[in-house]
Symmetry: C2
Subunit: 203 residues, 2 copies
């Protein structure tokens, strides 16, 4: 693997642990002279492929996860709510991301933060195309009609399918998931190890 390339950050917009990681990964990469490639995927598609079950569908585990998420957010002073309904679909937001990114990756980053914050700090239902369009308008001045047409376009739908398949082919099975010079790190609780790996070049 070539070292020094961008950190790959795979996530689902509906993943609260990805939201928590999204606030930290860029700063950590930047500290070590790295950029980050943000890659929204449909984690549900990967779960079906590999036979895994989402946390929110596990009766014993999920109440713990809710507590764990809120506890982490309080410790790190990150505003956090779980939107209702939860879980929700990140499909429309992910399609919009790739459409915006094709024009301007920096704008896509702004959009991704805005979607995450709308869902997990304001509790907005970002599964709705109208909400996704409203957020793109608020943050980036994108005309809602244009965005709604774009996310209904077959090319964009195909793009998201390919990105999800690509992530799966790279071994992704959860979110957030990071690849650092090919080394895989799964979970918000591995962000500190990503930092250490970038610092040391691995161990």
């Amino acid at each position: 693997m070539t070292k020094g390339g961008p950190v790959e950050f795979f996530f689902d917009f509906s993943s609260p642990y990805s939201f928590l990681a999204s606030h930290r990964i860029d700063g950590i990469a930047q500290k070590h002279g790295r950029s980050v490639i943000w890659r929204p995927i449909l984690l549900g598609v990967v779960f079906k492929e590999v036979g895994m079950v989402p946390n929110a569908q596990q009766d014993r585990k999920w109440p713990y996860c809710e507590r764990d998420l809120k506890r982490f957010a309080r410790l790190h002073n990150v505003p956090f709510v779980l939107p209702e309904p939860f879980p929700f679909s990140g499909l429309q937001a992910s399609r919009a991301f790739y459409w915006i990114e094709a024009e301007d990756p920096a704008k896509a980053r702004v959009f991704a933060h805005a979607i995450f914050d709308a869902a997990f700090t304001q509790g907005r239902d970002v599964s709705l195309p109208g909400t996704v369009a409203a957020i793109a308008q608020e943050k980036l001045g994108i005309a809602p009609d244009q965005l709604l047409a774009a996310i209904a376009d077959e090319n964009i739908k195909e793009r998201l399918r390919i990105e999800t398949e690509t992530a799966s082919a790279k071994g992704v099975f959860g979110a957030p998931f990071f690849l650092v010079d090919g080394e895989p790190f799964w979970g918000n609780d591995r962000v500190a190890e990503v930092d250490a790996w970038l610092q040391s070049g691995g161990w």
Copy 2:
């Protein structure tokens, strides 16, 4: 919940993440004037009860876990191997633990460390009663015949069933699992939060 009581440490002798946590939890608790109650359980029984699947039975996840375990061990300078066969049963070692603990909790702690180290630093097969008895003899001078009789005793078998049911009733669904004044922490990757919680009294 009364504060200041012992930290409860639930684990399965066959859980490599529990092994990694077992090296740190006593020192952390001691730093904050707390003791630790070690509670081996049969995690497989809990998994069946709640419909969860062990990591080692998940084709996509398990190779990552192996890498993650070895990476953590290298970073923290902990000798680590995965024994073969893996996964293995912690049944006999858990029964032996409770029999030894009934006489002397400090000896049970020594025994637990010895079982974990035999499995995860030397790769010994601690699922075998003979190996468990040999380790108890090596470390504590316990006569093998006596230990083998004890772990075949119905009272000890029942004791382990009750401990596993009790853990499950407290919400345990994985290992290692910690209860700190009633607050649940799951995973080797929450040990630092256990430390912070004991330090601050919670947040």
